[in-house]
Symmetry: C2
Subunit: 296 residues, 2 copies
């Protein structure tokens, strides 16, 4: 596939998502940092902070290329070659604890030896799990998956459950979503069809999240609920710094630290051995942080 076409589509996706999010927020605007990568390429980092709805978050575009970092060469067990990678990455931390944290990523990777693939996913991390909201979220993901391939949703939903898992807490990060990687062309699926799917995933993100925002953003909350949110944000930090492959890879390969760590939340709290009250809604959420729940 023409990589410039993919790159431009991702750039447009970033623009479109930012304008939808600014509208949903109603106050804050994205600030933009354009950066160059010494070894080749660069990116457009857009950050929103202290909004009505969005306390902190980023919508990042990048397109980088050059000599493939040794870490990838080793991981893929391939000979030394050049690479090209482009993608859009999003993490949003709302101020209202009733509004969930969301993450989305779409990416394309190409090696000079001809190997190329798409990866990505969307997952939702509510501070308080709302089963109806989780069902709405997953239904929308299933719909975009089914449009392209009936096997996508069940496979990628399971992949997300396995990937967004905080092993040392024995908890999923949230209600999951979809996750996929190394989607290459096969005998029955062309690389163009993979791209169409990935772009559709990207376009699903903003309308779905904005609808969730609009349902919850005015819901009043207490100090206790805000504290719970800060503790749950701590789990998000633990996942991203201990397990997330994109974060680790970025830090290992000398990526732009401030862009990579835009995913970390504002105002986080760790309290030793915090246990929610019996039969509280906090406990109910903890009990739902499990793999293999059919939310739909």
């Amino acid at each position: 596939m023409d990589k410039k076409f993919i790159e431009n589509s991702f750039k447009e996706l970033q623009n479109s998502i930012c304008s939808q999010l600014e509208q949903a927020d109603g106050k804050a605007k994205f600030a933009e940092d354009i950066w160059q990568r010494e070894e080749g390429g660069g990116g457009i980092t857009r950050i929103i902070q202290k909004g009505n709805v969005l306390e902190k978050g980023g919508v990042l575009f990048s397109a980088v290329f050059g000599k493939t970092p040794d870490k990838i060469i080793q991981a893929l067990q391939i000979p030394q070659s050049d690479f090209y990678a482009t993608g859009v990455s999003i993490v949003l931390h709302p101020s209202n604890p009733w509004v969930p944290i969301i993450h989305m990523n779409v990416r394309y990777f190409e090696m000079s030896n001809g190997l190329c693939w798409f990866g990505g996913g969307i997952d939702l991390t509510p501070h308080y799990i709302d089963k109806e909201e989780a069902a709405f979220f997953h239904s929308n993901l299933k719909q975009v998956c089914d449009k392209h391939n009936k096997e996508y949703y069940p496979n990628f939903k399971k992949w997300a459950d396995d990937y967004f898992f905080i092993k040392h807490r024995n908890e999923t990060r949230g209600v999951g979503g979809i996750f996929f990687d190394r989607l290459t062309a096969t005998e029955s699926i062309s690389i163009e069809q993979r791209f169409d799917f990935v772009l559709d995933v990207g376009k699903t993100f903003a309308p779905v999240y904005c609808e969730i925002i609009n349902k919850k953003k005015e819901k009043p909350y207490t100090e206790k609920e805000k504290i719970w949110q800060k503790i749950r944000r701590g789990r998000y930090v633990e996942f991203n710094l201990v397990y997330d492959k994109g974060t680790k890879f970025g830090l290992d390969t000398n990526g732009r630290t401030e862009s990579i760590l835009m995913s970390l939340p504002p105002e986080v709290n760790w309290e030793y051995n915090f246990k929610p009250e019996k039969n509280s809604k906090e406990e109910e959420t903890l009990n739902l942080l499990k793999k293999d729940i059919n939310w739909i």
Copy 2:
């Protein structure tokens, strides 16, 4: 060496440190959790929270044994065998941003094949670097090192600079201290002499930190200084979750999560691309977060 003797000395060290810290805090008391490890051994986790001086911290003792985890076997490239490990670990987060964060660890490790060694260290992480305080801290470490071996301080000071380094920020964690690992018996140093040194390091911790506390605990601070503290605490989280070998090893080998992550601070903040004002004391601190500074 008799491991029961080492174990009991470490337990006494925990007791002595806790009582000195409670006295320095003047308000909060340590709460104790005694835990068993399914595969063998257990520990005594002591946590202090919401004190006059100490906002959150832990002084942990453990003595665990059993089949050596595969991760260690692989790392050491040795045949499968049993292990025994005992140690004391401390991280303290003060509420006053003028009081530095401190970390101390002493540990003993023994394999059924006869291999055994000591490890440990102390390092100081001021939110605001005070050169006089750093000199006082390092002088005390040098003194305890020199008492045992003139090569210890220069070697272990450099080891700490290299170990407590946040690569993706290009910053040291703080003003360093001493760090050492795999101190086995040699032709000229017996394992008993190694133990005497390690125990002396452990005993140096409380009086030195309490003196630092007493000098700074009443110093008034502003909201701005508190925000800076929360941002610096974020760096502490980044180090511990991304680089710290003890944390990674504990999480990997199914250790007691709440004890391992007691090192994480309360009330942390991440702000995108935060830059201190030119010529501010925050900037001055950043400029001093470098390796190879001779603080004495």
